[in-house]
Chain length 246, copies 2
């Protein structure tokens, strides 16, 4: 293995620190040398050191604490929370999530009527602009330590058969309501990931360099017609989703 030196000095600094973090020279939880010290060590100015450090922060390898220093994050730790994905119908007819998490929802705005955007319309197989009921909430569990952004879209056409007063009872008992309308429910989930926008960083209390897991759940009736679309945004660090394969 030829030790290929990156041309840019800040990349050499980043590579040095990354090597040290991965091979245990800088153990997890321990502070790294200060920017001043690194600048002298490598004979560069502080902005150059900071540019190298920025790479490690973006990769989620280090955590910087204002006024205290820069600390190594555990690189290869298993997520401490495994979230089993699934829905089962209990004996009393209620639907329960397989994850068993009890959510608090501090802000509980009722559903609002909006026009379907392109992305939503495609998945629900309705025309763009068709009316849908929309609900959005920030959910918390474990006294705010676990957070999730939740969104749900239900086409009005799905509810047309039922009383529109359903609107009140549609949430939080979405599946019971749909089931009560005579639909047989099936579920498909799509898993994506992306870097969060600043708003999501704040809402989910995400550390730097941490992506979000996005789960899109489509509820289908027996004939495969989409009934509802839900979106779950999870913090991507320290959490994994569990699926059984058929």
């Amino acid at each position: 293995m030829p030790s290929e030196k990156p041309q840019a000095r800040y990349k050499a600094i980043a590579a040095h620190l990354q090597r040290g973090i991965l091979d245990g020279t800088y153990p997890a939880g321990q502070p790294l040398p200060s920017e001043e010290i690194l600048a002298k060590q490598f004979g560069v100015s502080r902005p150059t050191v900071r540019q190298g450090i920025a790479e490690l922060r973006a990769a989620g390898l280090v955590e910087v604490m204002m006024g205290r220093g820069m600390f190594v994050r555990s690189p290869h730790a298993r997520p401490s929370l495994t979230v089993p994905r699934g829905v089962r119908q209990a004996d009393d007819g209620r639907y329960v999530e397989a994850d068993g998490i009890r959510w608090d929802t501090p802000d509980e705005p009722g559903p609002v009527r909006v026009d379907a955007t392109l992305a939503v319309a495609e998945l629900l197989r309705i025309p763009v602009g068709d009316p849908v009921l929309f609900r959005e909430a920030l959910r918390m569990a474990d006294r705010g330590r676990l957070r999730q952004l939740y969104r749900a879209y239900v086409p009005l056409s799905v509810l047309a058969d039922g009383d529109l007063g359903e609107r009140a009872s549609l949430f939080p008992h979405l599946y019971e309501t749909l089931s009560g309308l005579g639909y047989e429910l099936h579920f498909t989930e799509y898993v994506r990931t992306r870097m969060p926008l600043p708003e999501q960083v704040a809402a989910l209390r995400l550390p730097e360099g941490v992506p979000v897991l996005v789960v899109v759940r489509l509820t289908l009736d027996g004939a495969g017609r989409p009934l509802a679309l839900e979106e779950f945004h999870w913090p991507g660090d320290d959490l994994e989703l569990k699926y059984g394969l058929a």
Copy 2:
């Protein structure tokens, strides 16, 4: 909505550009103003502008092309590739992946014997340091446009009943071999996400600000004993995983 101004100037620049990208002032694919122009516009030096831009790059909102300019990436596009996750046994007894992707594997090193690390041992429920067969490969499809990092671990104890010459035939027909040893196969998958290390960025040809989806597949026998552990690293942009819920 109180228009809360961020204190730092570079944050104001980042917020301005982000707003413009999300509301369509700067349409996807179009170039943004040059760093020089932004510096004059905001009355700051170029490094300050670059700091603001760094935020957008880390969030995957813009793509910078050396010598050409800075371009808006589609923010809310649906992934163009949906990968159904599952394994089914064909009539002839062979196991086939539900995704239907035909992988090329340019480098095809044989499996090597290694000691189980803590993370691997925990999932396979074997003692740390126990011998496992390990294989790693970079897989490509669609003429290199789709890439995946693949790793597999099989405890030697699982193969103890069979001929150790299995080692040769263990890959790429892992499931057929296990099935031939008399095991009944069940599959569980764990989905995680994280930012890639520079090596992964290079191997998977990842754009900036794009996380990786990591799928850990555990193969279990009828009694729930772990038989094999596989790891799939997918690029997190433009790709989603699809699961059916039981």
